[in-house]
Symmetry: C2
Subunit: 321 residues, 2 copies
């Protein structure tokens, strides 16, 4: 059974024990060069090196592994623009059950290939929430599979929370932890771990200006949907959920938004200086540091590099092919 | 004073002690996914994470740090297409002396920027060996600097040898160590370390078909120059040297050449599956494994990922900008 309450401290510790054999304890990398550029001490939690290329493996494993044999006998299903899809397909394969994935037809090819690699069965839909939800409904009715929502699921949130748990265990409490925010699964889990295991950590959600529903929702005090979001950060197009928003409202210090230019600049700096591949969504927290130098000056800032799945044919810095 | 003989076992150990405070002990990474594709166990020595982005920091530090104050009082100088240049500029900065760098005017912008970042003084020349050598001669005469050749220098070779020393210390003796070959500094050093510290390790030099002077030289038993080499692997355009060739002839098992297509494919696989940035030259050994599946089947194969300095504007897989 999925967790039926906001994850408590013990739930996140149990999630970590449950998924540990099936995920990487990803490294925390530092860069003297980027510290100089940013004017603070940066600690990069490399979930781009995570299984299936993103933190989503944590939540997918925890949710599926929380179910019993009977519950998963007809498979699992979800709609996802990519990383949750791959992670869920992988987790289902580990449990010898099927994964039915509804993906928008414009999902990056590398993410589609990833799902197929883990033998997920893909149904393509239009790239909007209504089509995603109606298509998923059909799939669920046809197959009898159980839905694993990408973020609006407490077991998923508890799984995503284990990244911040590992940060705090390895380096103690930083001044800040920065995570990108799309549907809010990673951000809400991070905020819970910072609250349960850290000391005076401020958690900041980082969002593209072109998809600023979390920023607007925080200001309004209620969930405002994402309206025609437009950003290179393809993992952050979704709106907050009814289970992530209340956690974010209570435990997250603030949401900061950044420009597309700074997302691309941040991504480029990470690739060039650290020699690691991150996807645009993962560069949003670094962009936030670049846009707010005074705020972070001299601080210890942990950044969750959320994923590394990017189509190499569609590089934003490829002006001359 | 530079080392005046083929490095002996003790010379490489001393080099390692000498440079250790100033270089990274780079990690050896593995990838389940790439092992499946290659059909063997791959161990990637990540010199792309090395200081200044390439293994060249090892040789540059060892050579400059072997000189006394008087010898480096007027600075150091070299010609280099890039990585040795950056590494030398950095090492000179550590010793508070000047670095004069002769670079071909078509050197990748990221490598030029790297040299400037370490305050190296650049003189541009035509992109051919004659222009590089004559320009360097002028610079040496004008400045009184001491030349640090990119590879035809025993102290440089001893420095490069420390990468393989670290491999053997960390993982024992693999069946193979694969290194790219340009001028032969890394390859000759690797072969010496495999001979001194390893047990039955075969060292293979990996070279683009479009710059196959090492392959031809080995077959001819004498140094044949690189004639109008053409390859995406911009670090491997140079010819073998009088100090590297005799070592390679004696201690390297063979030279294998690979196609440009496979270099690009190998580079793409490393970026996509391992989420790390390597330059084309660094992908040549992986391309060699892909081109010779039978040879390496089931073996333990260590690969030196030589560097990670690449212009992100000029990606070979960027068909759609």
């Amino acid at each position: 059974m999925f967790l039926d309450r906001i994850p408590e401290s013990i739930d996140i510790l149990e999630a970590h024990t449950r998924i540990q054999p099936h995920i990487h304890k990803t490294p925390i990398l530092t860069s003297h060069n980027l510290n100089e550029i940013a004017g603070c001490s940066l600690f990069f939690k490399c979930e781009n090196f995570q299984k299936a290329g993103a933190f989503k493996s944590r939540g997918a494993c925890n949710s599926i592994f929380s179910l019993d044999e009977r519950e998963i006998q007809y498979g699992v299903a979800t709609h996802s623009s990519g990383n949750h899809a791959q992670a869920l397909a992988r987790a289902a394969l580990l449990k010898n059950t099927k994964a039915y994935i509804v993906m928008p037809k414009n999902a990056p090819a590398v993410k589609v290939a990833g799902v197929k690699n883990y033998r997920g069965e893909i149904t393509f839909c239009e790239p909007n929430l209504m089509s995603r939800e109606s298509t998923l409904k059909e799939v669920l009715e046809e197959t009898g599979a159980i839905e694993v929502h990408p973020y609006n699921n407490y077991s998923v949130i508890a799984g995503q929370a284990t990244a911040a748990l590992e940060i705090i265990r390895e380096m103690g409490s930083p001044d800040y932890i920065l995570a990108p925010v799309g549907g809010g699964g990673l951000l809400s889990g991070t905020a819970l771990s910072a609250y349960y295991y850290g000391k005076n950590i401020k958690v900041i959600g980082c969002e593209p200006k072109g998809a600023d529903d979390a920023f607007r929702s925080m200001r309004a005090g209620k969930i405002l949907p994402s309206v025609q979001p437009k950003t290179i950060a393809d993992g952050l197009l979704t709106s907050l959920g009814t289970r992530t928003f209340p956690i974010i409202k209570e435990y997250v210090s603030e949401i900061l938004t950044v420009s597309e230019e700074n997302i691309i600049l941040a991504m480029r700096l990470i690739w060039e200086r650290m020699k690691i591949v991150v996807e645009p969504s993962a560069a949003v927290p670094m962009a936030t540091v670049l846009e707010n130098p005074k705020k972070f000056k001299g601080k210890r800032v942990a950044i969750i590099l959320s994923g590394g799945n990017i189509d190499l044919e569609h590089m934003p810095f490829s002006t001359k092919p």
